[in-house]
Structure formats: C-alpha cells, structure tokens
Symmetry: C2
Subunit: 186 residues, 2 copies
C-alpha cells in the first residue's frame, strides 16, 4: 500500500463503535486528534472490492448496466464485486466476477491500479484489472442480481465519460487509464 | 445528470430508515426488487462534494496531505470539501475550499467532470474542477482540520499515481484527465 512513516497529524482510535451491521458495516469511532481533542469519524467498514475492464479483440468494452438505488439510476459500470473477506484474493475474485456477470473467461488478467473511492468515509480499496483474450460463455448472476450486458466501442464509451453518461469512479478510472495507453501507443 | 429513462430493473423504495445521523447519515432502506421481493440497501446519504486540481503557471500541482482515519494513512489529495446542502453551489464552494485549504485564489476555475465515487453505497456526487491563474495567500483551514500543503511537479505526481502512492479517487481522476490533456496537446 506504499504506507508512509507516521504522520504528525495522525489520529488515534479512542473507542471503536459499530452503529450498523449489514452487507457493509457503519462505524462511528471516537478518535483523538493531534491537538488532543476528541472527535468522531463516521465511515463504512468495507472488505474491499475488485473491478475489471474487459477488452474484446476488436477493442469493444463489456459493461454491465444495473440499478444503483443510492443514486437512483441504472448505471453503466465495468464488472465488479466485493471481496468476501480480507483473506479473499483479488485475482481469484475478479476472475469469478467476470465469469458470473458476463459469462466471459480471459486468457490474460492484469492489474491496472488500486485506489480508495472515498478515503474520508470508507475503508474500501478497489483493485482494478484489465482482461484480454476473452472467450464468451453464459453469465451466472447471483439470485436477486438484475443486470444487463452492453458491449460498446471504446471511443463511444470515452465520449460517454466526457459527456457525463458514465460517472462511476472505477469505470471512469479504468477508461481514462485505457485512453492513456492508447494515446501513448500513437 | 444525463438520467436515462426508467430501467426495467428499477428498485422502488418501500421504507426509508435512517440508522445513524452525524457528519454524514447512514441509511438502510427497504426496497422492492424487480421480481417483487424485498431487500435492504445500505448507504451513506451524502450532500455531494467538490474538488479542484490547482495547476501553477510552471505546471506544478498543489496537493493537501491529511490523515484519513478510515484508511489509516496521511493521504495526498487535491483540495476538496463537502457541500453544506443540496442548495450549495459547487463553483462557490470550490473557490471557498481552494482559499481555505491552500490560500490561493484562481483567475480561472473550470469544470473537469462529475462522478459518483461509490454509487453502490453512497449518494455522493463529486464535482471536479481545474484552477489556473493562481495567486497565493494565507491558508485559513477550519479549526480541527490538520493539513499540510505539498507542491509537486506534474510528472512526479503522475509517477505517484502509477506506483500507488496516490490512491484517492478524485485525485487519480483529476491527474488522469490532466495527463490526457497533455498527451492530446502533443
């Protein structure tokens, strides 16, 4: 994680407090600030997640559209899924999610980058991969997981980023990274 | 927001439930799934936020380092702040945050893109801007806000993205967008 040396502004845990336990956990810990005062840090305690940019041989990208209740929209995103625990291996999980959500298996899966979607109020680390050498099959979504696949040429997807029709962080980050690769090849 | 027509997989709110109220609110709503079953959607009810990539005339970028308790690290991020309410104007807020956190005012502030950091479990929309024509002054951080400024040449910051030393989503997205602008100018 490239963790630096202890920072002078480090906040120390005073008291852990779990305020809600569900698919994700919500915590509101009491912390000691650098000036000795107490404050509360409210955040989602998240096991981490994986996502994958599946690139077909002709350059099209495979997306998943699904309803996201918090934002009230059926969003276009790259396939992704939560890790089951801290012990869950990202590479194994990403292969499983790709297969479940799209039906595809990949000859090559490579790490692109890992990032924190919201380090101010979530512990989540999201590991993004690229998948190439794709071979199609039958999707096996979880029960009660409603999604549709959309296969879109890269340049069209890129315009959707620029015009705000793709707004999900992992999808924006993966498409930006792919755009940079294409520009650097020129 | 480029909101599409109602999707066949739309989930409908059955019952709103606030499980924790603080700096951000945690909700666990009961929803009706497309197949008529009930499920729970747990998420952070967030007013939205702004962030800004401040680019100095010589191409260096101004960052803020601050301790982020959920990830346990003093992260390097671009200046940012939460909207106070849904009525708070992003452009006014971003000018205020830039001034408070860095002391700088900008001759030009332009929208770069808006995105959802985590649409699966937060309502947050984050509006990212670029600031140029910067003029320095004295930072005015909030009381109990501990941060240090770091001014870094773009290419060095870019290597920090590639090596995982910059991992915050708004910072990664803004630097990738700037990298793309630089590559397209070549």
């Amino acid at each position: 994680m490239g963790k630096p040396a202890a920072h002078p502004y480090t906040e120390k845990k005073h008291k852990r407090r779990l305020v809600f336990s569900g698919t994700v956990n919500f915590r509101a810990d009491t912390v000691t600030l650098p000036n000795g005062k107490r404050s509360t840090r409210e955040f989602v305690d998240h096991p981490g997640a994986v996502a994958v940019l599946p690139v077909l041989p002709d350059g099209r990208i495979i997306f998943v559209r699904q309803f996201r209740y918090p934002v009230g929209v059926a969003t276009l995103e790259i396939p992704a899924g939560k890790l089951n625990s801290a012990a869950d291996k990202p590479l194994a999980r990403v292969k499983a999610e790709l297969k479940e959500e799209t039906g595809y298996t990949a000859a090559s899966i490579k790490p692109l980058l890992s990032y924190w979607p919201t380090p101010a109020f979530s512990t989540e680390v999201l590991h993004v991969f690229t998948a190439t050498g794709l071979r199609g099959g039958k999707p096996e979504p979880d029960e009660d997981e409603f999604l549709t696949l959309e296969t879109i040429p890269f340049e069209k997807a890129w315009r959707m980023v620029l015009t705000g029709r793709i707004r999900d962080s992992k999808t924006v980050i993966a498409l930006q990274a792919w755009k940079i690769k294409l520009l650097e090849k020129k």
